[in-house]
């Protein structure tokens, strides 16, 4: 006979076969007397108060049918009027009872099921077949939020009464010393129990519902439906019954099954205890004893055990000597030990240790931040150890101690070179006894990619139209500009397009104790000289203070200046400024950029004398303090930009501006304030900024003059047609990706073939779409999106024939990425602009990436592949944006703990520059590199592109004159400062059937004509018809001169209306276009025939209609111009 069978056999008639499930279940039974001394129901259980109630130890977990390791004792008693129940159960180590459900009158609160609660099923009518047969079910939490109802077997068609509510009952509870004490009294009258019902056996389930983790534990060891009547524990009442109480199951882990029997009257009992651990034979003991009235006898079985984890199976049976009357029966399985994970709280404690990290493969660095704000034992934490370990290995690659400031600790440390594999970043807290000792571990995946550390676009060369840098003495020349340099590391003068921009030399102003200090200059030196880069140096001093100025010149004229302030003992200075005196006449326009776009000022430089503008007036979003990163001052053709990527090592008063414009007569001084608060010069400071005169290069001349580049195509000789694929999915990408789906570059070959043949390869598209099934369901909207895009992309490729000279450029987003990209897990930390970022593998960010070196390497690698079918790169939204990363991103932390973001200026410039160089490296000097820069004409970034895209802004049906002022257009949109073709978005109004469409498009044409803007649009027809006539006139030909209204000596004046104009001169004929920017009216146009070398007897005609225009007595054309209309006047 097996041990198990032996135990079962010993149970005799108590074994009940339960239908649900397959196991045999011994139902608990108790026989209880009526209590003479009733407990005080105050929510504080005293053993003495419950001495006359049956006492049970432990509830059975529903998960494994063992007594749950979470401690509990419960009592069941009665007097002749009420049922009494008490439950004392362990609460979580944090002392908190999860109690959230809130009572709401008599409404059943379902949510009580998700709380720690007590649950009862009471069947006072068990076995009855007539009369009241109801039984009752209730759940209640410590707040007494309830869910209850009754069941009536006598009403089989509608047995459930959810409206039933247990009333006039007593429920008190408290959490005392880590235990939840619940005391309950249920009057029999509330559950329809009569005196007669007490003569019958009742059914009673007593349950404790736990959370963290969830468990429904109960008296019996059956896991069946709660309303299952046959499996309900049984309770009998009789005044002569003894009180049986299980006192304990073990003593300090050793099995010690102790029970007491209290005889109300002298009573003979038979006590049987059996205990077996694991598969060992049970230890059994039987006592037959007569217990005197009023006496409590103790019975103990001590049995062998196998340690705290060893399972025990125990049977306790107290009966009358012959076994017929059961006073107590319970069979249960249990273990003496308490596993550490019996509460998920330890897991929660671990979750309360927030570990964030970044790993920088290019920099061989790791940044770790640990936050224990939510940790209950945070006050005991003394430190932490962080390790980086290759997964599967024991020895960490690095181990570092973390020091907490408050509840946070952060560390940046070097790492070894990480080869391909998975790494564990782990942090283990140190401190008092309650501090979790388990490490918190995060995983990092290092993959090595073929593009890493490539040199694409980095060849040392000068690409046209730039020219090699020339240095003669202290004169340094780049294309279109000559800089005269001085000994303090600044410029005495810069001549741009043959005009000097400075009214006097730039200079440093140093103030101390309210006084400007005299500056002593050092020596101008050329440290290195190559055609593509020159390094110059200067220095200056003021009292004990001295500074070195080192300038790296790039061949687009960008001067990257590093100002090193050397320590000067005890000296303190109040201010350090760079002053740039500009010729006011050449600084009529101002463009200032903070972080973000569509809020940057572009327009006329404010009028007035003295301080006319400061950067505290300018818009920005996330820049910390008064730092402002970019300003340009100039005219339509030339100007000067100052810029910085961050304010590292500046010393700033929070309220004083960093940029100021001061006008004194004909001099407009740009003042850049690096130090605005008393600053001891007790350490070295290194301040980096840039200067760049504009234009940075000539407007494009290859393959044709920029004026003949056209988005859209019609049969006009010498027009350069181009188009842009406006998003990545057009060419097979899933999102903002470097490469098409599955890194399958065959689509580029298909596009290339389409561009050569003009044939749309439908079979390829069908095959290609098969790839998408791995992440999108056919037939869904998303599927249709991809289908439409790939079809449109292929159609565009087939329409932009190489044989006709088309240039086709694809959209890319250097600020966005899809998390599904294989590179993301490895390189996300370098690329994302946030201090830390979740390691997600799905989703994307649109404008939160900074194209740092590793991003550039990846991008350039795949740009080169895209050159198989495309002719350039389009970059979306290259505005300045806050990058909070302190390792790859260049952000820094000030003494207040604030992160000062950098703005991505140098990274974005490098991306655009490398791309331009790449095209030349690949023998593709003709390209279409488009920078989308809406409202952020950042010269150092846009310098190496050849198309600037603006006006993704002010959409709708308004006239274009109401959207953008001409001053803003000159300062930001016309492309001349960067030598880029100016392109604008269409304006967000596409409904050609709208009655307003033609008019709004005409206002767009008028605005575009006088500013020479190209439009990303393919309509309306009259726009292109006009351009065709313009090209036929000779626009864009070498012998066709163009005069812009921002030029000095502009040969056109208009009276009577507020208008802007443009003049084209070819041979002996001229064309003037006048666009109204006011209210319209009678306009009179004067053309300076003499300046243009024309005879004054030319007859003005309407260029569009050919009709002769009315002239004034002095021969000037005069006409009525509708508000915002334009007139093109041909003089021939």
């Amino acid at each position: 006979m097996t041990n198990k069978l032996k135990v079962l056999f010993s149970l005799g008639s108590f074994v009940i076969f339960v239908k649900a499930g397959t196991s045999q279940v011994v139902l608990p039974e108790i026989g209880i007397p009526f209590m003479k001394k009733l407990p005080i129901l105050d929510g504080k259980i005293e053993e003495s108060e419950w001495a006359e109630a049956a006492r049970m130890v432990g509830f059975v977990s529903q998960h494994n049918q063992e007594i749950t390791s979470r401690e509990a004792i419960f009592w069941v008693g009665a007097d002749e009027e009420s049922l009494f129940i008490a439950i004392k159960s362990e609460v979580a180590p944090d002392g908190q009872l999860l109690t959230r459900a809130v009572p709401d009158g008599d409404r059943d609160i379902v949510s009580v099921c998700y709380d720690e609660s007590v649950e009862l099923v009471i069947h006072p009518h068990l076995g009855k077949t007539t009369g009241d047969q109801r039984y009752f079910h209730l759940i209640c939490n410590a707040r007494q939020a309830m869910y209850d109802r009754s069941f009536d077997p006598a009403n089989p068609h509608n047995p459930v009464n959810t409206a039933w509510r247990l009333k006039n009952w007593v429920f008190t509870s408290n959490v005392i010393d880590g235990f939840w004490h619940v005391e309950i009294r249920i009057p029999f009258s509330e559950i329809g129990a009569s005196r007669e019902d007490l003569d019958r056996t009742w059914g009673l389930r007593v349950c404790r519902n736990w959370q963290r983790p969830w468990d429904q534990s109960r008296w019996e060891n059956a896991s069946v439906a709660y309303e299952d009547i046959p499996t309900m524990p049984r309770v009998s009442f009789n005044a002569s019954f003894p009180v049986v109480q299980i006192i304990r199951l073990h003593d300090q882990g050793k099995p010690h099954i102790e029970l007491t029997v209290l005889a109300r009257e002298t009573l003979a009992v038979k006590v049987f205890i059996s205990d077996a651990w694991s598969h060992n034979p049970p230890t059994e003991k039987t006592w037959e004893k007569t217990i005197p009235a009023g006496t409590r006898e103790t019975f103990v079985l001590q049995s062998p055990h196998g340690g705290p984890e060893a399972p025990h199976r125990t049977l306790v049976k107290v009966t009358s000597p012959e076994g017929k009357q059961v006073y107590y029966l319970r069979e249960f399985r249990w273990r003496p030990g308490k596993p550490e994970d019996r509460w998920t709280l330890m897991k929660e404690e671990k979750k309360a240790i927030v570990l964030q990290y970044k790993i920088y493969p290019y920099y061989h660095k790791m940044k770790v931040r640990v936050d224990i704000t939510s940790l209950s034992s945070k006050d005991q934490v003394t430190g932490a150890v962080v390790t980086l370990t290759r997964k599967g290995e024991k020895q960490p690659l690095l181990t570092k101690q973390l020091v907490f400031k408050g509840t946070e600790a952060e560390l940046i440390t070097d790492t070894p070179v990480l080869s391909e594999g998975i790494y564990e970043v782990a942090v283990r807290l140190e401190g008092g006894k309650d501090v979790p000792t388990e490490p918190v571990v995060e995983l990092y995946e290092r993959k090595v990619f073929p593009w890493e550390q490539n040199r694409l676009g980095l060849s040392q060369r000068v690409i046209p139209p730039f020219t090699p840098i020339e240095v003669k003495g202290n004169f340094l020349s780049t294309v279109l500009r000559t800089h005269q340099l001085n000994a303090v590391g600044l410029w005495d003068q810069v001549v741009s397009l043959e005009k000097p921009l400075l009214a006097s030399p730039m200079f440093w102003r140093v103030t101390s104790q309210g006084q400007s200090l005299p500056i002593s200059q050092g020596r101008f030196t050329v440290l290195d000289q190559k055609p593509w880069q020159v390094i110059t140096a200067g220095s200056f001093s003021a009292k004990q203070f001295n500074a070195q100025v080192r300038t790296e010149w790039d061949y687009d004229g960008l001067a990257k200046v590093t100002l090193v302030l050397n320590p000067a003992g005890q000296m303190t200075i109040d201010g350090l400024s760079l002053e740039i005196p500009l010729r006011d006449a050449l600084a009529q326009y101002l463009h200032a950029c903070g972080d973000g776009l569509r809020h940057n000022y572009a327009g006329k430089t404010p009028a007035g004398e003295g301080l006319v503008w400061n950067s505290n007036q300018a818009n920005k979003i996330n820049i910390v303090g008064p730092f402002y990163p970019y300003i340009w001052l100039g005219g339509g053709e030339r100007g000067l930009a100052w810029f910085a990527d961050n304010d590292y090592d500046w010393s700033l008063d929070e309220k004083k501006p960093t940029l100021e414009l001061v006008r004194q007569g004909e001099v407009l001084t740009l003042r850049v304030n690096f130090i605005t608060t008393p600053t001891p010069l007790n350490r070295e400071r290194r301040i980096v900024f840039g200067l760049q005169a504009s234009p940075v290069k000539p407007m494009p001349e290859i393959p044709v003059n920029w004026r003949r580049w056209l988005m859209g195509y019609f049969e006009t000789p010498k027009v350069q047609p181009f188009t842009i694929l406006g998003s990545n999915p057009y060419y097979g990408c899933r999102g903002y990706d470097f490469y098409p789906v599955d890194r399958d570059l065959s689509i580029y070959e298909a596009f290339s073939q389409a561009r050569d043949t003009g044939v749309f390869d439908k079979k390829f598209v069908e095959k290609w779409l098969e790839k998408y099934k791995q992440f999108v369901q056919p037939g869904t909207e998303l599927w249709t999106f991809f289908l439409n895009h790939i079809n449109a992309g292929m159609h565009t490729a087939a329409s932009t024939l190489r044989s006709r000279g088309w240039l086709l450029t694809p959209y890319t987003n250097p600020r966005g990425i899809g998390f599904h990209l294989e590179e993301w897990p490895t390189f996300q930390d370098e690329w994302i602009q946030f201090p830390y970022f979740p390691r997600q593998k799905e989703g994307s960010v649109s404008y939160e990436i900074c194209p740092v070196r590793s991003f550039q390497d990846a991008a350039l690698w795949y740009y080169r592949e895209m050159m198989r079918c495309f002719d350039g790169i389009y970059w979306d939204n290259l505005y300045l944006a806050a990058n909070y990363d302190t390792v790859a991103g260049g952000a820094w932390v000030d003494e207040k703990g604030r992160i000062h973001p950098s703005l991505g200026l140098w990274a974005m410039r490098e991306l655009v520059k490398r791309t331009a160089v790449l095209f030349h490296e690949c023998g593709r000097p003709v390209f279409l590199n488009v920078v989308h820069m809406t409202n952020a004409n950042l010269i150092p970034i846009l310098s190496f592109a050849n198309v600037s895209l603006d006006w993704e802004w002010q959409y709708g049906k308004r006239d274009f004159q109401d959207r953008f002022t001409p001053e803003m257009t000159v300062a930001e949109t016309i492309g001349r400062q960067c030598g880029n073709i100016p392109l604008i978005l269409a304006g967000g109004f596409y409904n050609q059937k709208d009655p307003d469409y033609s008019w709004v498009m005409r206002t767009r044409l008028g605005v575009c004509l006088v500013h020479e803007l190209k439009v990303w649009d393919y309509g309306p027809a009259f726009h292109y018809q006009f351009l065709k006539k313009l090209y036929e006139f000779g626009y864009g030909e070498k012998d066709c001169q163009v005069f812009n209204y921002w030029d000095e000596h502009f040969p056109l004046s208009v009276k009577g209306i507020k208008a802007k104009g443009i003049v084209f001169l070819r041979g002996k004929k001229a064309l003037a276009i006048v666009t109204d920017y006011g209210e319209g009216g009678q306009a009179t146009v004067s053309l300076d025939y003499q300046a243009l070398g024309l005879t004054s007897n030319l007859r003005p005609k309407d260029f569009e209609t050919g009709e002769e225009l009315t002239v004034t007595g002095s021969g000037q054309p005069s006409f009525f111009l509708k508000k915002h209309d334009f007139k093109a006047i041909l003089f021939e």
Binding site: A20, G21, Q62, L98, T99, R100, A101, V102, D104, G105, R107, I109, V110, S111, C113, Y114, D115, H137, I139, R143, R149, V160, T162, A163, Q211, R212, P213, W214, S223, V224, A225, Y226, E227, T344, D371, T373, S374, I621, N622, I832, F834, P835, Y836, F837, P838, Q840, E842, G843, S844, V845, E848, A882, Y884, G897, I899, P901, Y955, G956, K957, R958
Partner: protein, 267 residues
């Protein structure tokens, strides 16, 4: 068309099945919170829950105080299970609850709610606040659209998850609502685990952003739910979790409850 349980039946279903853990899962439409192991574990993370099913603003679950201050007269109409709160429309109201323990906005958590457009013009309309903190540092709301007299769009319509404190700066995630028809319920989930915050609609792709520095607890006021003004919207089943739910957890919730509410996902 949405099918609703007759009043009083839904809770019974849950309970009867809750107690019937021996039943196979395909025998009855079990309550996801109790039958799905993942969701059941998540119930321990719930710190606040408004069902509105009692026809009042009383929270059905509140880890902190359940008291609330009322402004206006909140209007309740048939919702996903029983009743839903009408937000906006000028004839409802809102309630303010203690944020302490109920709304862990300064650490980590998730606010889930189902919203349903009732009278959205998709042309010109004021904002409808679904939930906010009383000092305006947190919002989960629908920004109403704006057009000027020429019919030009001046303000995009979108649902917004916005956090704006002196420490975090102004951070907003939005999701366009131009194509949201009346009568269609959507599940919004605002998730935060500083410095990250995320917004998801119908458990779709997370829009994620990161604030420059985690906020301080004192930068948030009490929790307000509902609105007097704004374009009329129904709100139902508002849950706050003290855990930043993962995308998988949200999808599980969405899939489970959109089935229960007879909704079809619209990712």
């Amino acid at each position: 068309m949405m099918i609703r349980m007759p009043k009083g039946i839904w809770p019974w279903l849950i309970l009867s099945l809750w107690f019937s853990s021996g039943l196979k899962s395909n025998e009855s439409p079990l309550s996801p919170w109790s039958t799905d192991p993942l969701l059941r574990e998540l119930t321990a993370e719930i710190v606040f829950y408004l069902s509105f099913d009692g026809g009042n603003m009383k929270p059905e679950m509140a880890l902190g105080l359940s008291d609330y201050r009322l402004t206006g007269q909140p209007k309740f109409v048939p919702g996903l299970k029983e009743l839903a709160l009408t937000a906006g429309g000028g004839k409802s109201g809102y309630a303010v609850y203690s944020s302490k323990l109920n709304f862990p906005i300064a650490t980590q958590g998730t606010m889930i709610m189902w919203v349903c457009p009732v009278a959205w013009t998709h042309y010109n309309g004021p904002n409808t606040i679904f939930a906010m903190t009383t000092n305006f540092s947190f919002y989960l709301e629908r920004q109403g659209p704006g057009h000027n007299e020429k019919g030009e769009l001046t303000r995009q319509e979108a649902v917004l998850f916005l956090v704006n404190t002196p420490t975090t700066g102004n951070n907003c995630i939005n999701f366009g609502t131009n194509n949201w028809p009346s009568g269609k319920w959507r599940m919004l989930a605002a998730v935060w685990k500083w410095p990250e915050m995320a917004l998801s609609v119908d458990a779709g792709t997370f829009s994620v952003r990161s604030v420059k520095k985690p906020p301080l607890a004192q930068e948030f006021g009490d929790l307000l739910v509902g609105a007097l003004g704004g374009e009329e919207t129904l709100i139902d089943e508002v849950y706050v979790f003290k855990k930043a739910l993962t995308k998988e957890e949200l999808q599980k919730i969405y899939q489970a409850f959109s089935r229960e509410f007879n909704q079809k996902g619209d990712n």
